[in-house]
């Protein structure tokens, strides 16, 4: 007599050593099989932070390790919910543990659609990692689908509906995606650990002590207010200090221009790309299958760039070299709206110094909203964070935290104008008189790190 696949547990709990959570614990055969699927294993070959590892050299961790981490936090939340707040115990505000497996699957798979250097890649090739996540989960040819479908018919679609936030149980949806969810909690801790910065370190154990389910989602005990506050501040700090770092964006700009150059060249140079970037061709053609997408990883792109360094197009090979050998564009702050003309001037100076401004300058704005309350009118409104009083009533976080109120609804970030390092580094400059003049003119427009 055999237990149905859905309920199969491992004879002995399996663990993976994890530097952030100490151990990742696996009890379900389904989860172990998903981890071993080729779509999930592929995430080992995609860095979590893309170009940030050029600035923080420790941050070479993959989306695979993050996916395990999100799974583990979700598992711990389920344990706490089941132990203290099961629906049998506290009624309609409680947690229904039959939701556990689907929550764990969604947690593990929430990023399975990410590709190499997602942010930039999506921008140029018009892919969407969330749509692809859904496609991987619901397409019969994937291993992930086959595993989920063995659980029960329709299970893949249910898992996908958590990703798209249409799943009926709001507790499960918010566990995976809200302003304080397993995804964000893992990446803040993980990125802090691997970058070696301390800013992302909030008190996960404390958060897990105060998290609780209620009918419409997830809330936090009132006496955990300061722990939640601390998490919001950590998130803010990681954004301004790590994710928006000017050098990482300087590499992102190089990458974007490099892919753009290839894209622009492709129509007339298709055979060249066929033999030097075989796996990218479907994307240049803007006609790719799910399987084409699943063959991509960081190494595939880097290998293409490696081959491109020897091609004839001087912009393509130069940008490929700059990317592989970490030569970021440099930058200064600018004021959007009012400095358009000045930026045009700067681009002309760059051109005069011998660089095509289309491929060697850029405007880059990095902005984020560390916290927002619920604004139903906004297209991308957010689920606000609720604190629960002794008597069960809920209060929105920024109502009682000065700190969070200071950050709520306020975007944080900056606008930067990017240009070649040659413009400001005498060691790299051509030393004819004429050029000296050009460089001096360029420098005269930058003061205290900003365009003037």
């Amino acid at each position: 007599m055999s237990v149905s696949y859905k309920y199969q547990t491992l004879p002995i709990e399996k663990v993976f050593r994890d530097p952030v959570h100490n151990y990742i614990h696996i009890d379900h055969q389904v989860i172990l099989d998903l981890i071993n699927s080729k779509e999930v294993q592929r995430l080992r070959r995609i860095k979590q932070l893309g170009t940030s590892s050029f600035t923080f050299h420790g941050a070479e961790h993959s989306r695979f390790s993050h996916s395990l981490g999100v799974y583990e936090i979700t598992r711990r939340i389920c344990n706490i919910f089941q132990q203290n707040y099961s629906i049998e115990k506290i009624g309609e505000d409680g947690w229904d543990d039959s939701q556990r497996l689907i929550a764990l699957c969604a947690a593990l798979l929430h990023d399975v659609g990410h590709g190499p250097y997602s942010h930039t890649f999506e921008h140029i090739f018009h892919t969407d990692h969330e749509e692809i996540t859904v496609a991987i989960i619901t397409s019969p040819e994937t291993e992930v689908y086959q595993i989920l479908n063995r659980v029960e018919a329709g299970f893949p679609e249910k898992v996908a509906s958590i990703i798209t936030k249409t799943y009926p149980n709001p507790q499960v949806v918010q566990m995976i995606s809200s302003q304080i969810d397993a995804d964000r909690m893992d990446y803040l801790l993980r990125d802090a650990y691997f970058t070696g910065t301390k800013y992302g370190t909030f008190d996960l154990t404390r958060i897990l002590r105060v998290i609780r389910p209620y009918k419409n989602g997830i809330a936090f005990a009132m006496n955990g207010m300061h722990a939640v506050e601390d998490y919001i501040v950590s998130r803010y700090q990681m954004y301004v200090q790590v994710y928006f770092h000017p050098s990482s964006r300087g590499m992102e700009v190089v990458l974007e221009h490099l892919l753009n150059r290839a894209h622009d060249l492709f129509p007339k140079e298709a055979p060249m790309f066929q033999s030097n970037a075989q796996l990218l061709v479907p994307f240049f053609k803007e006609n790719f299958s799910l399987n084409d997408y699943l063959r991509l990883d960081d190494g595939v792109l880097n290998t293409a760039f490696n081959l491109w360094t020897e091609l004839n197009d001087s912009i393509l090979s130069d940008l490929a070299n700059r990317f592989l050998n970490r030569k970021p564009l440099k930058s200064c702050r600018f004021e959007p709206g009012t400095q358009g003309q000045l930026i045009d001037t700067m681009k002309q100076i760059v051109e005069k110094a011998g660089f095509n401004p289309e491929y060697y300058t850029a405007l880059n704005s990095s902005y984020d909203l560390p916290y927002d309350f619920y604004q139903p009118k906004l297209e991308k409104h957010r689920t606000q964070i609720e604190l629960q009083q002794n008597d069960g009533t809920l209060v929105e976080l920024s109502q009682i935290s000065h700190l969070v109120a200071a950050l709520a609804g306020q975007e944080q970030g900056d606008h930067r104008f990017y240009f070649p390092k040659e413009m400001i580094d005498p060691r790299l400059q051509n030393d004819s008189d004429l050029f000296g003049e050009t460089y001096r003119l360029f420098a005269s427009h930058i003061y205290n790190g900003a365009l003037i």
Copy 2:
């Protein structure tokens, strides 16, 4: 008036955030230029631990971050030597700080010749990362050489002589390479940090307090004996618990067989490899230039494997899939010498189950000597660790440490027989009766994890 390149320091000290050492500090223009060279940047694309990251998913750090770490420890040792034990202060046993720059360069570059999955790659393609390190340092076409040669004529060769241990100053040589050197100290701490294990954590600050130069090399104050002892034990623990992990070796075996299969096929399938592994062809031909070597990285190999999954050779494509999707061979211990016949039997059973034993079984022995005293008769004799008494006399470590004496001269490790997981996992087995018999027979020869 300008300072010669050799003595140029940065206007403001530059730092890199490092999770292990907190900050890596750069003062010399030469060092910054070396870090920015393309040969060093390439190390970002080569994992420090190769297949170990398949077992310890956090251990995705690169040889680049390790190289910075070795540099940083060397820098700290130089600082301590200069502050407390300069040759001006303590005479012939002291440290001559004019050796600093060369020591730092050697530290940073000591692994620059590593390629992707070095251990396996070297075995199959007969490359040698140490020889290539020397070649990179001393070949006029590399950026590394050009930077070093600007310091002064002959400088590249001097740096290389530290790698080959022929440099006349034994203090500098031992800093970079001895039984307790900057290289080992960094990798133990770093690998412990990224794997998330604790075993490699010894007390670096304490070691740096007791390290001291003497005429013939480097010694440790007697009162630091236990800190050195602790380092030796940490090293032992990392070997037996991390570096020799059976699953990582199970992936290494897959990799080795995969590359062997390609190598075996190449003579008759050259064009196929030309278009599916362009950058590897010089190695299949066993005729490669330094530049060919420098174009390799983990991504280049993985991309080749990616393409090979779709080729016609079923062994090649199957092994490529196993490697990319992490399907290690499984293993059991065996006794070398006495079980040859039994191993032949096991191979025959594997063959009967449908696997070519040449590509699907392997013997793998991982052994290491955690510490050894000086044995001049040995070809690879080691520099023993010396403790210094108040009166300046030296005592060899194992003379006074029971713990180290227990490990000295004793190899630690094990011998394993590898085979496909299919042989022991019913979920993967072909369920015809005939095969059932085969599998049972196979299983009957393994007890308590060992061949019997």
Copy 3:
């Protein structure tokens, strides 16, 4: 020929293992002698956090370890100032290293006047730890004075003037006492470490990288803004989560009432106290010498309480028992100003239940200003935190940090009404009907943790 005492350095640098800073480094004979003085050694017997260790059982560290920590941070600041910003190098904004010894002495001694449970003790016996610090430094009978006076005549008075902020060099004064000084930086890190909370953990290494002297004090490089911001938020979190913890204050209230009771009883019970609290008698008499004060420590008070548990006065012995055996008063929040009458009612109920409200109830308000800008009109105005731009101009912190602006000038804390646990814990209640009514009435005035 001998070096003058002022310049004597130790033959070998001496270190103390410190869990927060790893090592405390001592180079000067003067500093080592001060550490070994009996006035400084006495700080080993006084807990840093007083009654907080009743709530956070790990926080049993002493003022001695904090004093070493403040010294060590000051030493590191001096090192950085001397290395990068010496007055020889950068002119009038720079650091004059002849100020080092005096800064180190003041750092080490800044808390030497603290007594047992300072906050409460001072309140009742009208002592002032800052005045006593100055007295210890400048009174010829202390070992501290004798050591300092050997440095040079007038040196003790100079060190004292740093404590009183009248010393002419503002850099030295601000190092020891400002809104971001060595004192606060050490106690946040140290209290976080020993309580086991994470909130106090900010990035000291980063702060030390961006701190710099200028003519009128100490500033921080603009690119360190977020690190300073993080420190301010950590400080806020430690206040609201650790220092203001309601249970610790519940113990403080017990202590205050206990000492008050003894003080009240003393006039008629002098002989009893003479034999049961010999060392406290000068304080009951409000006529004590510096030497009397220096004989006090936590153990002296606890031993007195120990003896008092057996005395005849039932309030004194009960409160002594409550303090020694950790029975804090319980509390609820109240609104100051508007709830006076209700508080009177509550006190009457407490009295009805058999407790003298003078000794068994209390109002306790804990408030702090996490950051303030300079407000010259305030009696206790603060030195604001300044950020320095590339061109040397200064900007006040809250001008550019939203987070800090949200906290600036805003007091954080709460008001609590304290009462015996018996009022709300049925397990402790006398079960006659009459009392049941009393307890129910009491409970009816508390809702969601606040008086209503």
Copy 4:
């Protein structure tokens, strides 16, 4: 209807923040009541490491925090045993969870009989902390007894039988007391944390993954061998580097001589001690009650010493000053057995320099056996550590670990001769010619830190 006291759980789990284990979790009312008992609270006033905090200033933690830690580790072991190895699941080798409460009580109370500076105090006053632990648990006048007795009649005696190792369930006994028990595991981690050394840090989480019950006690899975090995080495390192530190022993010697002096003086000076050490008098008389013992703590002893500094006996007051102000005796190694005559000579020199050798010199040997296998012939034989193979058979640890074999049955430590610092520190020496000769003679007998 009410649940019997034995089974009462708290409505909400209560936690204490702990820097070592993050949180201590309390579920049982019995445990919470025991923690709140005055006998357990008293442990807050007794330092865990006695005189070691004079060497490692961070190590000011109390026996209270250690007791909570031992409780918490025991709780975690019970959880694992119940989850994976309950007797229902695996039969006679399994864990019977009805043993949980008694195990937790014994864990929490195992050190409740410790007094101030136990080691020294017991030596002089012939007390025995283990006997007193049993007395506290089984004497009807203690709060601890009353709580335990409410659980059920005979329960106090059962708890006591775990302390005396006569309890019939060997699993419970070994959890609390064996070569790898909750007691040792907590103190190694805790002492490492608070001293700031790293040597005691082993991998508790890993140990807890491999620990398992069997019929005759507790064993460890074979694949956890290296984790256990690491624990043994950590234990060894903590002994040789922390617990046996020469300076701490130098303070212990001062303390021992100080108490001896008082003891010697008592017969003729009883009234003096009556008013200056009231709570110690029963011990001088060697006639004390359990209640007398329970009133002692570190502060009581220190307060007595404080008062003694002003008494007329110059040896008593000098030693009291040396203890309070941390003036340890200094030491050198000696060879026991062969250097008796030389030690006599050294004592004579010390006497010549004006110190009574009975009170100012000492021989002190600190030895420990880091691990031993079972030796039934020894009076204090030990329960050896067993590893369990897949098939359930057990193997003794040192049979398969070279490292442990090297330490097994070998005592580690040293023998030291202690003397006043004045003998070797010129700054403290009387500078008449005559004495100069004496000091030179003394110094001539010490070389490389040892007597010669």
